[in-house]
Amino acid sequence: MKKTRALQALHVSILSLSFASLAEPVRGEEEAQTRGEAQPGQNDPKALTLLSLEQLMDVQVISVARKPQKLAESAAAIHVISQEDIRRSGMSSIPELLRLAPGINVAQFDGNKWAISSRGFNEVFSSNLLVLVDGRTVYSPIFSGVYWDVQDFPLEDIERIEVIRGPGGTLWGANAVNGVINIITKRAKDTQGGLLTAGVGNIEQDTELLRYGGKLGESAHYRVYAKHFDRSHYDRAGDNKPNDAWNQTRSGFRLDWEPSGPDSVSLQGDTYAGTSGENINIPLLSSPYSRTLNDDVKVSGGYLRARWQRTLSAGSDLSLQFYYDHTDRKPATLEESRDTYDLDFQHRFPWWGRHELIWGLGYRLTQDETIAHTFSTSFNPASKALNLYSVFVQDESRWMGDRVRFIIGSKVEHNDFTGFQFQPNARLLWKPAEAHTLWASASRAVRTPSRGETAVRLATSPFQNQGMTFLPVVFGNPGFRSETLLAYEFGYRSEPFKNLSVDAAAFYHDYDHLNTTEAGNPYLESTPAPAHFVIPLRIENKSSARVYGIELEANWRLNGNWRLSGSYTLLQMHFRIDPASTDTASLARSGDSPQQQWQFHSYFDLPHHLNLDAALYYVDRLSNQQTLAYTRIDLRLGWQPVKDLELSLAGRNLLDGSHREFGSNLVQVGSEVPRSLYAKLSWHF
């Protein structure tokens, strides 16, 4: 009942907006009329030349939904989330923003955790998606995944998010198996002046950000910020009250310096501390064999990144980057502290006429210390330092007057678990006509073992049989191999009409050596008491899969005030296990990701500096996660009463009181995502 009414309300609003647009002048026109000047337009284009330079810079234009050069000529399935998309999404966290990209599956697990992946294999620690922030990897090698709860820097500082589906191993290295997410922050010179934002809502109970940017002399710019948020817990169907509240304080800076023409130096850093709550299940060796614990996980950390770039000549540059990253997490079961040092060098130059070569070297040292507080989870060794060496080279050449581009390259890495890994790829791009692009690619990518897969001991709830207690324990395997992927993709991009652009990609992925857990022979263990039989579940590589699908995206700018966009994703996964494997549960992994997803967005500019933005999402059921299909509607109303002030009201998940997006796992208990409302004020001073 509620749903039908909501949909009806949406229809009525679309209709009344259409009338509103016919009845009232467009914002730009209104201003020009009050200034008493001729309105430039198709009726009198020559009037444009009567405008001064400053006036010309104020004219809003309709352009074809043209992507930046880089995007239109990419031989990959890429989507860029712009700062404008971010501002008008009404979303307040980075993981939520990733819903905007087609082909990305975002499932919120609880108040501060997400399962995010591309093209399948979704789980709370999704291992196949590499995520970088300004070239710094935030993918943790402990469980091969991203701790999204500590990637919460100000959304207003993001320049764009590049979402690349498909393997990116050649340029980005191991673990960029199903995709790469590249979050790029704004340069300091683009965040000058002061910014104060404050928000309040039923879930985001309070959020504040204060940022200031200025100049140091003529050639340096800086910004500093501090932010804090407090988010309440979610809902859960079931007995326990969820403990997934989330709060964090964070501050950081960025300094960009151009000491001379060809050189630029950038220094940035952040530090954060907070609490991410969760509910976990801890096994007990005697009745009731399991208890649920409310765990307030304390998290803290920070990073420092320095980058030097020099332009050698037109089309040729080199860069050197160093970063240090520290993360600390204190769950009740196992504490982890990690230090990462990374040095990266890249050089790009034209050669041999029509070619451009880019090559690089990298070294990363990551060392962790884990402290186990319960018998159920521990690492052996408890502490380890991992070295990663890498070198890559890629050549790009242009043919037939720039209509055809051919890219070929490979990355070679050496890691402490699996030695040398090769990740070659080849891509071809062809523009048969203006505004039509075809591309194809073949790549190999690997997902290297995590610390967990090689060293963990994870006990799950024991059971009784004939008076004996049996405790299943997952054991890491130091001989765990890398998972491998051979991927074949092709795509088509076009602007069939003025103001309409479409983007289609199809892929076929062949995975091998996928992780499985193999049951071994039980043995008696006397400590901790009481004595019990351990059923060892060893992590092996005895599975493979074939995955294929398509991703479609379209953008339509109807007029100067109204833009629509939509996407559709289809995914088919078929898993197999080796004859020697006992892990039949692996066969059901296709049910961890939705077979279909689609979304539809409308961005409407109303008169009087109002924006009305609406989004509709559909995500198919997850048969292996006891999660039903769901439809989500978000609405956002933004208002800029004066130039430097913006007020907005956003409603998310308006259709449902609460719904589940992902199932619980061996340890963590998930929650249901509620309806939420959020009001925000943004003031530039």
Partner: protein, 184 residues
């Protein structure tokens, strides 16, 4: 399954509103196109740039090199004069004899040849303009970009100096300045 039924109903309702939506799209034709605005900018640039002593001809030659994105947009400036000089347009498929143009607009289709174009023009008094990513860093004097549906431009003053052109400070202060190293 139930959802599919709901979706069908929704699409049928939206189909009824489609004529209104399209009407709105037609009615709103009053915003100028991107290239009409860029043409107007080029006309303005010519007012704020000084070429070295010219041959005294009374035409300002604008050469479009490569694919022509302007289509009819150049009509916006066709009969407009600057200091008694009128615009003359030339459409070049290949970047030959660019030194006979006062202004050269290099289309994005020539991205691959950009380095060669910049080198061959070194020192000649041609105002090079483009609208591709990184074109100013690669040596063009003025490069357009879009920001929030508005046309903006960036200027490479070193490139202007190399060409022997003087750019008025009134134009420089409205531009994003691009600094790149000097060629060795």
């Amino acid at each position: 399954m139930a959802f599919l039924n709901r979706a069908e109903g929704m699409f049928r309702k939206l189909a009824r509103f489609l004529p209104f939506i399209l009407a709105v799209a037609q009615a709103e034709g009053a915003s100028p196109s991107e290239y009409e605005v860029k043409a107007a900018f080029i006309h303005n640039f010519a007012k704020f740039v000084q070429w070295p002593m010219s041959s005294g001809s009374n035409t300002l030659r604008l050469c479009i090199v490569g694919d022509n994105p302007f289509a009819n947009a150049l009509e916006v400036i066709r009969d407009q004069a600057i200091d008694g000089k009128h615009w003359e347009f030339q459409f070049l498929r290949t970047p030959q004899n660019l030194d006979r143009c006062q202004v050269a607009f290099i289309s994005v289709s020539e991205t691959g040849k950009l380095n060669a174009i910049v080198e061959s023009l070194g020192g000649k008094p041609v105002l090079t303009i483009g609208d591709g990513e990184g074109f100013a860093e690669r040596g063009l004097i003025i490069n357009f970009y879009l920001e929030n549906q508005k046309v903006r431009f960036e200027i490479n003053p070193n490139a202007a100096r190399r060409a022997g052109l003087a750019i008025s400070s009134q134009l420089l202060k409205l531009a994003r300045i691009v600094t790149v190293g000097e060629e060795r």
